[in-house]
């Protein structure tokens, strides 16, 4: 176990020092493996692992869902989604913030990127809330937190990566993410209601949406909702696999973007395709590093030492998962979701499987934990994204506005932890 601990320490030091996460992980894994098996074996392992992953058919969901998200992002559908939510909830107290949560959920369901959702909604929802004198704290906090919904509501890249590492069915993971995603939307709306109740001045009543905007919102929202239903309904109904759904989703999103007047020049196609290609590469270099590193960790025997430790300490399933949640929460202060998944899951995988933990449920739990890291300091990426789009809003106000949503996320985590069917119910109807 000592080599693995040294490996983790070196990796953390390199990451903190600013070395690129993917490259650092790969190098530590390569050197660590070579230390016990020799350089030749380590070179062969890196080649086999990375080439195997690069040619993994199941992983093609990543670029295709990313592409779907980029097409949706570029189709300017976010405004219509927001207006549709505004039409439904605008008459409530704090209705515009409620609408923001709903629109974030809807947009992230087809976009899949938390950062893109936060950035887009900053542009779409903030001017509306500002116009009705919403407080910066409530408005910006809602947007930053709402963006995190994308990580749970399928299609979600972190769930794909978890599925690959834990060898779980990606389609089942997507289906498992639906109810927790909806629960989080409800909890976020509850958080807004509580905030407005405590400070009614933070959210003055908004004027009703004009009939023209309502009609336009309806027209714009229907195709996106249809795409979401086709993609997830297809997986749920067993019509197609997650990989096939990603192809359908990408083509469907391209058609929607085209129908809305986008993707009508080579330049706009190029913009979307290059963006998706680069994002894919950035995710895969981290994955390549992770698979090499996990080979080193496996060779060191650490996962089995943990397995024996769990058996010796007679840790129950609950205690084991709580222990892992605690580690993931700490890691969430530094690492983004993919980093946490690739470093944490392989180490505990044998112990989790041996303890009989439902790995689909655990996937939802661990992704939920990484979601908390997206809005909590010191990193809290979503808060910084909102700040970069809205430079006039103070970062301190964004983080203060986020606090109620952190409680909502923790409540959601506790609910899924204590009531596993929230994650597994829909999956069990699949089986």
């Amino acid at each position: 176990m000592t080599p693995a601990l040294i490996g983790f320490a070196v990796l953390l030091a390199l990451c903190f020092a600013g070395f690129r996460v993917g490259f650092a992980t790969l190098m530590v894994g390569f050197v660590g493996f070579a230390m016990s098996r020799g350089w030749e074996a380590s070179l062969a392992m890196v080649g086999q692992q990375d080439f195997h992953d690069a040619l993994n058919y199941n992983l093609s969901v990543i670029p295709l869902f990313i592409l779907m998200g980029v097409f949706v992002y570029r189709s300017d559908v976010s405004g219509d989604l927001y207006d549709a939510a505004y039409a439904a909830l605008g008459h409530l107290k704090g209705g515009l913030a409620q609408a923001t949560v709903l629109a974030c959920g809807g947009f992230s369901a087809v976009c899949g990127s938390t950062l893109a959702t936060a950035a887009t909604m900053s542009k779409v929802a903030m001017p509306q809330m500002k116009a009705f004198n919403y407080s910066d704290r409530l408005a910006a906090g809602t947007i930053a937190a709402g963006g995190t919904l994308g990580i749970m509501i399928p299609p979600s890249v972190p769930l794909v990566i978890y599925g690959i590492i834990a060898e779980q069915d990606i389609g089942q993971l997507f289906i498992a993410g639906i109810l927790p995603g909806l629960l989080l939307v409800l909890l976020f709306m509850l958080a807004v209601a509580v905030m407005v109740r405590i400070d009614p001045k933070a959210a003055p009543m908004a004027a009703p949406l004009s009939a023209e905007r309502r009609a336009r919102a309806r027209r714009g929202t229907i195709p996106v909702l249809t795409l979401f239903i086709v993609v997830l309904g297809g997986i749920y109904g067993g019509v197609f696999t997650a990989t096939e759904a990603s192809g359908i989703g990408a083509v469907g999103a391209a058609v929607i973007a085209f129908a809305r007047g986008h993707l009508r020049s080579i330049a706009s196609w190029r913009l979307c395709l290059v963006e998706a290609t680069i994002t894919t590469a950035k995710i895969f270099i981290v994955l390549f590093g992770a698979v090499v590193f996990s080979q080193f960790i496996n060779l060191s025997g650490m996962p089995y030492d943990i397995l024996f430790f769990v058996a010796d300490a007679e840790l129950s399933q609950t205690e084991l998962v709580l222990f892992i949640i605690a580690i993931a929460l700490v890691m969430g202060m530094v690492f983004e979701s993919i980093g946490i998944l690739v470093l944490l899951v392989p180490v505990f995988l044998p112990a989790l499987v041996q303890s009989g933990v439902d790995m689909i449920w655990f996937g939802i739990i661990v992704v939920l934990v990484t979601e908390i890291g997206l809005i909590t300091p010191p990193i809290g990426m979503n808060a910084f994204v909102v700040k970069s789009v809205l430079p006039d809003v103070r970062l301190a106000d964004i983080f203060r506005g986020i606090v109620p949503f952190v409680f909502a996320l923790v409540a959601g985590l506790a609910a899924v932890f204590m009531i596993p069917p929230i994650a597994t119910l829909l999956v069990s109807t699949l089986r």
């Binding site: 990451c15 903190f16 020092a17 600013g18 070395f19 690129r20 996460v21 993917g22 490259f23 650092a24 790969l26 190098m27 390569f30 070179l43 062969a44 890196v46 080649g47 086999q48 990375d50 080439f51 690069a54 040619l55 993994n56 058919y57 992983l59 093609s60 670029p63 295709l64 592409l67 197609f240 990989t243 096939e244 192809g247 359908i248 990408a250 083509v251 391209a254 196609w269 190029r270 395709l273 290059v274 963006e275 998706a276 290609t277 680069i278 994002t279 894919t280 590469a281 950035k282 270099i285 981290v286 390549f288 530094v334 690492f335 983004e336 993919i338 980093g339 010191p378 990193i379 990426m381």
Partner: protein, 174 residues
């Protein structure tokens, strides 16, 4: 944890040689990705509506995935557009900015060169053993070879990107 600031802005692409390499990689990556999307779509439609899936679609999609990844890596490397933990790096950078940049970038180049090297070895091995893919019986050496060439190209683009940034920094210094 985030992308490097300024990443993806394409500012590092101003050098002519690098601009050509990046444009070529962008074109390749885009073509591969569109092909992947259309192939997946046609395969699904063919399978479920016409009962006629595309023969060997999975293998072609897998190969296209590898090509998309390594085309994208060339662009990401040239712009140093990678995931970074931004917590203490700026403090360390302040101590000796140039030395810091040399160490970080050399490390990235070293790892990328390692990947290119092992992929090339894999391609040569597949060539020597005449390994074929299971369904379409395409020589694996072609796929591994193409991927290793793209990986090597991404090392070149990485080095060109570093050179360009260093030149721009020294001009600013002057």
């Amino acid at each position: 944890m985030s992308e490097e600031p300024g990443a993806g802005t394409g500012k590092a692409d101003q050098g002519t040689g690098l601009a050509i390499v990046i444009r070529a990689l962008e074109l390749l990556g885009s073509v591969f990705l569109v092909a992947m999307m259309l192939l997946t779509f046609v395969d699904v439609i063919g399978r479920y509506l016409l009962n006629q899936p595309v023969f060997g679609a999975n293998e072609m999609i897998s190969a296209l995935l590898a090509l998309v990844i390594f085309s994208g890596l060339g662009i990401a490397n040239a712009r140093d557009d990678h995931i970074v933990v931004e917590l203490m790096d700026h403090r360390i950078r302040q101590l000796a900015p140039r030395f810091y940049a040399v160490v970080i970038q050399s490390f990235s180049v070293l790892v990328m060169a390692l990947i290119a090297f092992v992929l090339l070895e894999l391609a040569l091995e597949a060539w020597a053993q005449n390994t074929l893919t299971f369904v379409l019986e395409i020589p694996l050496a072609w796929i591994a070879g193409s991927v290793s060439v793209l990986a090597a190209l991404s090392v070149v683009s990485q080095l060109m990107g570093i050179y360009l940034k260093a030149r721009q920094a020294s001009r600013r210094g002057n």
